[in-house]
Symmetry: C2
Subunit: 157 residues, 2 copies
């Protein structure tokens, strides 16, 4: 079973410390990380590697400033489907996977099936997505947009 290196037993406080440090700064050097958690570099690296292999750490990403990268419009959109079949869901999810404006797609409980996070250059770009992409999908029944005016807290990692 590949990638099933299974984390033996519990994660101790050093592992927690490593994860916190890497969440804050994913590019910290192993040397600095080792010192921060009070381990020798080799022991520290072994733990990080184990956490990666166990699937606890799934990757590393640069975090970009939205407005400096041309994203001036963010909205959350709820989408309801007109059929609740597996085929309709899969068709919708395929279409969503191909749209770069869709950064997140969550399958939720409640009156509608999906919650999307949309990032676009401006309102005009969003309107285009709304009518030309969402509006043309045959499975889509109800669309409600909630424009983000600000994010007092955002720890998306």
């Amino acid at each position: 079973m590949p990638g099933r290196a299974q984390y033996t037993g519990a994660m101790d406080s050093i592992d927690q410390h490593i994860l916190r440090a890497l969440t804050r700064d994913g590019r910290i050097s192993n040397l600095a990380l080792a010192e921060a958690v009070g381990l020798s570099p080799s022991a520290c690296l072994r733990r990080v590697t184990a956490l990666e292999r166990a699937g606890v750490i799934t990757g590393y990403r640069a975090v970009l400033s939205p407005d400096k990268t041309g994203v001036g419009f963010v909205a959350y959109v709820t989408v309801g489907l007109n059929q609740h079949t597996k085929a309709a869901q899969e068709a919708f999810e395929r279409a969503i996977a191909q749209s770069p404006e869709v950064r997140e797609c969550h399958n939720i409980t409640g009156a509608v099936e999906y919650l999307l996070r949309i990032e676009a250059a401006d309102l005009a770009a969003y309107k285009h997505f709304h009518t030309e992409v969402l509006g043309t999908l045959p499975q889509v029944n109800a669309i409600t947009s909630y424009v983000v005016m600000g994010s007092p807290k955002d720890e998306r990692a």
Copy 2:
């Protein structure tokens, strides 16, 4: 003016390429990145440093697997306030900033003021947050929870 190294003029296609590569793998070595974008290591590093100093790249983070780190329950919650004063908003945002379960708080247009993303260990932990934290805030008027059953697309960086 510190950190205002200002990106002179437009970002070219090499910069775009660098940002895409670093968003996919924030820990790629400068050597590999340089090769991927077709630059020498030193020129590549100069661009990355400039992007960081200009605030285009705001940081690097490890991405963790929610369920392997004890997060078994995720929900989006809309919150309406009973007063639309600045003071009420600030009090609410202060309370939210201190709650570790709240990973995101967005100020949105529509019938309610806020959309939160909540991450908790399980339903019981969420119930505790719902009644003991959200339920006791005097400004809060309406709470609606949408439990996340899955995320077919999730590019939260």
